[in-house]
């Protein structure tokens, strides 16, 4: 196993708080949008890659997401959920793309390992991780989406709730139940 990332959930909330100042500044000074871009471009890209398994298309949709966000920014009414707004645009672009490609369902589950060309990827080939990946790929799309939003996009529960138009506690409960189920299945596989 590689080093365990020292992940701090509190950092999500800090990021959300910091957004307010940047959003306010960007509202008055369009160039300040760059700070918001810097903060979220990798999250958006990673989220799209995780859905599409195609880096080039993910780049294209990342570009579209930020170009749209920049154009629509004057109409953005800040409610403290800038990442939720941004990801909703990314998800719209994704749906638009998949609709055009006639792959609104299913295809992204038909992933092959070869599609991912990433040296980092080689590091995490432990048996348990491989098993976990298999579990994830067998999940319904809505469960996969929850995992992606939390663990790829690093959204806070609050932003996830806003994005999914659900109650924050409900999102939290659903995710934790899902994790518990996955944990149980993983442990039983390794017994």
């Amino acid at each position: 196993m590689p080093d365990k990332p020292a992940f701090d959930p509190a950092s999500l909330e800090l990021r959300q708080e910091d957004d307010s100042a940047q959003v306010e500044r960007a509202r008055r000074e369009p160039q300040a949008f760059g700070a918001l871009y810097d903060r979220y471009v990798q999250s958006i890209y990673r989220y799209l890659v995780s859905r599409l398994r195609d880096g080039e298309v993910a780049k294209d949709l990342t570009s579209q997401t930020f170009l749209t966000a920049f154009e629509a920014f004057p109409r953005y009414r800040h409610n403290g959920h800038f990442p939720a707004w941004l990801f909703s645009i990314a998800r719209s672009k994704l749906v638009d793309h998949l609709r055009k490609e006639n792959r609104l369902s299913g295809v992204w589950l038909e992933d092959t390992e070869e599609d991912i060309c990433d040296p980092l990827h080689e590091i995490v080939q432990g048996e348990r991780i491989v098993a976990l990946r298999g579990l994830i790929e067998g999940l319904p799309e809505e469960d996969q989406e929850l995992l992606r939003l939390r663990y790829v996009a690093s959204l806070s529960f609050s932003d996830m709730a806003t994005l999914l138009n659900r109650n924050e506690d409900a999102v939290k409960k659903t995710l934790y139940r899902l994790l518990a189920r996955m944990h149980s299945q993983l442990e039983s596989k390794h017994e």
Binding site: A10, E17, Q31, A35, P74, I123, L132, S184
Partner: protein, 784 residues
């Protein structure tokens, strides 16, 4: 509430992250996209929408006259080339193709449903594509998405042909405002045999599903373009004068730094040619389109910023231009060809024109690496002096130092300082190949003098030996490449004045330290300043400061601060609503009547009332105690607040709309508005009314410059002049008028280092002073 089961340990969540791990986007992509998003044309994005079907006096005769004139000036074979290809230019559409296949959509067509109107303004079909312009008006705020998490309608319009063929929009543009939008959609060509088709608009942009009428259908009829249809001829220009090819890093110049320079290796030099290929005479100027051509294998990673192009007339006078989208003609950019296109504003240039490109950049993968040992427990702020030379593709860069930082947001950053020959290397991209962070960011850049920085983040604390790879290197390739163009005499004079160079501004290209700082006697006052955001805080730190910075009072975190005319009270916004800070008692009061959506409070001239914006609801006025709180008559969600009129009976507002931002006066008693100046800035332009109510300062793109400038004009738009134009990489905006209206304070923000410099400009004398000790955005200035 925490429902987390015990078995869900952080370790298990880390495993989930590892299982979902995907590679980060390359720094090159991230950096390029950032530039694209924030390029001035996009920030600007307020070019007027031209019409092409009802333009009086625009006859084919004019086109033929211009062609006849062109025959006389540049020779018959060139015009023959134009006719043979039959490319024309239609303002608002772009280049069109096919002499006999131009068809127009019979328009306008209007449909009204439930108070919303959709108007098909114009449409044009040629052999390549079909372009439709339409606009929508009347969308109400309640039809917009209620939450930022919902982007509303995302379905694109399409064309339905009689045989059931569906043509999807493949490009276009749109501009929106609170009550509507306009849109230009470009569809594939409608077959010549088809003259009737249907435009389907499944839903209106940015409306909630079901909230506004959906499934709009327009039956459109195509007719041959009439004889008087206005198409500007495109003059194709044969092979221009070609100048020497470039050389890699031909002018290495030693710098004072201690890095080791190695002579540039004898690299194969790509043969490059700059060409001007086409031109169009517009009513207000010209469009020139050209290309850089070179060997296919060496050319694909080449790039240049179109603003680097220099155009001069025969007398050496610089001609300002703006880059535009190149036409999608039969020879687009490819592996051995980079297409550029520019538009000028003005005519009557002394021919011939000279086009010159001093350098291009070459971006290529690199294979070089070095190790950095962070040790078992690196500490935030720890630095390592490396002073290590790394050779990459025969270029040498010196890695000066590395620094480790732990940030409050939970991320860890490694930053590298490097030194390169600024004439050889524009940038490098570093990466830690062993970085397996789920969250990942990177940043980097240079100051143009050879100092480069690059940093990237981890979402865990890295330790031990890190293998740092130089992934890409961007080097310079020097010309200059030049091309000359014999310019035919203009067919008619320009319809508007020539663009003004930023060189005429009072404050032009000025950076920190380059303006005097001594204040004249008698110039003083109180400023309210938004300083940097303190760690862990949401809002900037507000403080009151005397103009000379000798006195300073910190208020606390907040934004949108406004200082009462007597300087005693500060109204500002915090996350819980509007506050008032009393300077004498230091008492801070949350105004009970305020709401979380309130922002931009402004004190009335008598200090008795506050105007502010309440979310998407519009502009409100109240007394500070909440009495007489009301939405102002005539207010609309499209309005931004720009100031009070001096008599206190009205407001200056900015109405966002189809054309840009209209400055309007809003009479508080009647709600009547009156149009003033149109600002070519779709974000409002940060307009500031002078204390006497006669002049307005605002922010607008300067034609031909890659940045906003600060302008001054009378309220009706007359006597407009450029006051300040920033140096590259910074943005500048008007911040506050002095109480006597003699000075304008402008704030210049450098995004790269996140610092703000403030300047005073006296418009009448063009005197410029710098306020050295204020790192923050000034929002008000009152008498002391």
């Amino acid at each position: 509430m925490n429902n987390k089961p015990e078995e869900i340990s952080p370790d298990f969540e880390d495993e989930i992250r590892a299982a979902l791990q995907v590679p980060p986007a390359e720094t090159v992509f991230v950096t390029a996209l950032r530039s694209q998003i924030l390029e001035p044309q996009r920030v600007h994005r307020a070019l007027p929408l031209h019409t092409w079907t009802r333009r009086a006096g625009m006859a084919l005769f004019a086109a033929l006259l211009l062609m006849t004139l062109a025959v006389a000036v540049i020779g018959p074979q060139k015009v023959w080339a134009a006719v043979r290809g039959w490319f024309g230019y239609v303002p608002g559409v772009g280049f069109v193709q096919g002499e006999n296949s131009l068809r127009i959509v019979e328009a306008p067509l209007v449909q009204d449903r439930e108070g919303i109107s959709v108007t098909i303004d114009e449409g044009l079909a040629d052999a390549r594509q079909t372009t439709l312009h339409y606009h929508v008006e009347g969308i109400r705020s309640e039809q917009r998405p209620a939450s930022e998490s919902d982007t509303g309608c995302i379905e694109s319009p399409y064309l339905s042909l009689p045989d059931g063929t569906r043509l999807e929009a493949g490009g276009g543009s749109a501009n929106g405002w609170p009550s509507g939008y306009n849109r230009r959609d470009v569809f594939p060509a409608v077959p010549a045999a088809v003259d009737r088709f249907t435009l389907i608009i499944p839903c209106l942009m940015d409306t909630r599903p079901g909230a506004a009428p959906e499934d709009w259908e327009f039956s459109l009829q195509l007719s041959p373009a009439p004889q008087d249809f206005h198409v500007l001829p495109v003059i194709e220009i044969p092979t221009p004068t070609l100048q020497p090819t470039g050389s890699l890093a031909a002018n290495p110049v030693s710098s004072a730094a201690t890095f080791t320079m190695q002579p540039a290796a004898p690299t194969e030099t790509p043969a490059i040619q700059l060409q001007v290929e086409k031109m169009v005479e517009l009513p207000d100027g010209y469009i020139f389109q050209g290309s850089m051509k070179g060997k296919a294998t060496a050319f694909s990673p080449l790039n240049f910023d179109t603003y680097q192009l220099q155009i001069t007339d025969a007398q050496g006078k610089r001609i300002l231009f703006e880059p535009i989208d190149p036409p999608a003609d039969s020879q687009p950019s490819g592996p051995n060809r980079l297409v550029w296109a520019v538009q000028t504003r003005g005519k009557g240039y002394a021919s011939p024109l000279t086009f010159s490109l001093p350098s291009v950049t070459l971006d290529q993968p690199a294979q070089a690496s070095f190790d950095l040992d962070l040790g078992p427990d690196p500490q935030s702020g720890q630095t390592w002096e490396l002073n290590q030379d790394v050779t990459v593709d025969n270029f040498t860069l010196r890695i000066l130092s590395a620094r480790f930082d732990a940030r409050v947001d939970g991320t860890y950053w490694l930053s590298f300082e490097m030194r390169v020959d600024p004439h050889e290397i524009e940038g490098v991209s570093l990466q830690d190949l062993d970085n397996h962070s789920a969250k990942f960011s990177g940043a980097g850049g240079g100051d143009g003098s050879g100092s480069l920085s690059q940093s990237f983040s981890y979402d865990y604390r890295p330790q031990g030996v890190r293998h740092i790879q130089i992934q890409r290197i961007t080097t310079y390739l020097y010309g200059p490449w030049t091309a000359a163009l014999d310019l035919p005499a203009p067919q008619r004079t320009a319809e508007q004045p020539e663009a003004t160079s930023a060189d005429h501004a009072c404050l032009a290209g000025v950076g920190p330290g380059s303006a005097p700082t001594t204040l004249p006697d008698g110039l003083n006052g109180w400023l309210i300043v938004e300083g940097p955001v303190a760690p862990g805080k949401t809002f900037p730190t507000l403080f009151l400061a005397s103009l000379d910075s000798s006195q300073r009072t910190e208020i606390g975190p907040g934004g949108w601060a406004s200082l009462s005319p007597d300087g005693k009270r500060v109204a500002y916004i915090y996350s819980d609503g509007m506050h008032i800070f009393d300077q004498a008692s230091k008492q801070d009061t949350l105004l009970a009547w305020s709401q979380g959506q309130d922002y931009h409070p402004l004190w009335s001239p008598d200090g008795q009332r506050l105007a502010f914006v309440r979310g998407a609801d519009g502009i409100y006025v109240t007394r500070p105690d909440g009495s007489d709180l009301h939405r102002t008559a005539g207010s609309s969600p499209s309005m931004l607040l720009s100031g009070w009129l001096p008599d206190g009976n009205g407001l200056l507002v900015t109405r966002l709309g189809n054309d840009g931002s209209w400055l309007q006066t809003l009479d508080l008693a009647s709600g009547k508005t009156e149009d003033g100046l149109l600002i070519d800035n779709r974000k409002g332009g940060s307009a500031l009314l002078s204390p006497d109510g006669q002049q307005v300062a605002f922010s607008e793109i300067t034609f031909g410059e890659k940045a906003y400038g600060v302008y001054l004009a009378q309220l009706d738009g007359s006597q407009q002049r450029l006051l300040a134009s920033p140096q590259a990489g910074t943005s500048i905006s008007p911040a506050a008028w002095s109480p006597d209206g003699q000075w304008l304070l402008v704030s210049s923000w450098d995004a790269d280092v996140n610092t703000t410099a403030n300047y005073l400009i006296q418009p009448d004398s063009c005197q410029v002073l710098r306020l050295p000790d204020l790192n923050g955005q000034v929002t008000a200035w009152v008498k002391k």
